[in-house]
């Protein structure tokens, strides 16, 4: 019974993260590790595809907060795609839509980083 897995995939110079399961104080280290790995590889254009994410607690939001400044100061961004109702709801409660750009689909999130991306793979 794995509570969280995080796979990743590169599309051009965008890195896609696929958290599957839920992110709470117990599982957040894994998610944090995936973000830190992207940063250490200087992959600053990050899309978190939330299609497989059932739930995120403040620990997970804190992990994004802890990484966002370094990402943005390196000309990148962390953008989210395919939030389910629960996760969208948590974002709404916190007003996180002002801090992070969210997209209905992964393709839109990738395309938002510029026309060069998405075709590559």
């Amino acid at each position: 019974m794995s509570e969280l897995t995080v796979e990743s995939r590169d599309v051009g110079d965008v890195v896609l993260l696929y958290p599957k399961g839920f992110i709470n104080a117990h599982t957040v280290r894994l998610f944090e590790g995936a973000l830190q790995k992207a940063i250490s590889l200087k992959q600053f254009k990050i899309v978190v595809n939330c299609a497989g994410l059932s739930y995120i607690a403040s620990a997970g939001l804190g992990a994004m907060m802890g990484a966002i400044e370094e990402i943005r100061s390196n000309g990148g961004d962390l953008r989210l795609a395919s939030l389910n109702e629960t996760v969208q709801n948590i974002f709404d409660i916190l007003g996180f839509n002002h801090l992070y750009r969210t997209y209905a689909s992964e393709a839109e999130a990738i395309a938002s980083f510029g026309p060069a991306h998405g075709a590559g793979a």
Partner: protein
């Protein structure tokens, strides 16, 4: 980070010890509503169980699924705070969660024997400053207060009790359907 003093009073409101029991609380046993007590070791591995038990109890209490999801987030956050702050990560302690369906109120109490809550330690959330100040804390309390109708902390008999309450029926509205 300490919150700005001018916003202390509004917050303190929801943290003072609860007043005398409400009429519903005085109803003795046989109140004909489910109640549940969950005792857990102070390990984050059990937070998933906390969330699922909360969601079920909220649904049985009559809340629609999206509301039950939010309530389970608030209780997850409260339990996480007990583990991280009251017990400072020690995994050999115990947390008790008490769920009670008091007619108009859905009530969850978290009981621990760890370090006392210091309300002044709770930062005020200012989203604009989050990014520039590299802030990562304060979101849990903020979520709890946004989701619940009341969040109070009290200390009695060397235990800390965090009480979360959600009214089932906003004044003047119909009770929520199953």
């Amino acid at each position: 980070m300490v919150r700005a003093p001018d916003r202390v009073s509004g917050r303190e409101e929801s943290r003072r010890p609860p007043p005398a029991p409400s009429p519903a609380a005085r109803v003795p046993r046989g109140r004909n509503k489910p109640s549940l007590i969950l005792s857990l070791p102070s390990e984050t591995a059990y937070l998933g169980l906390v969330r699922e038990v909360t969601k079920k109890m909220a649904e049985v209490g009559g809340f629609a699924e999206p509301v039950a999801e939010r309530l389970s987030l608030a209780v997850d956050e409260a339990a996480t705070n007990v583990l991280e702050h009251a017990y400072k990560g020690a995994t050999d302690r115990e947390v008790e969660l008490r769920f009670e369906d008091r007619g108009p109120d859905f009530r969850v109490e978290l009981v621990d024997t760890g370090q006392m809550m210091d309300p002044r330690a709770v930062p005020q959330v200012d989203l604009d400053k989050f990014v520039t100040e590299r802030r990562t804390g304060g979101l849990g309390m903020h979520l709890m207060e946004k989701i619940m109708d009341s969040v109070t902390f009290r200390r009695s008999a060397r235990r800390n009790v965090c009480a979360l309450v959600k009214h089932k029926t906003p004044l003047g509205e119909e009770p929520p359907g199953r």
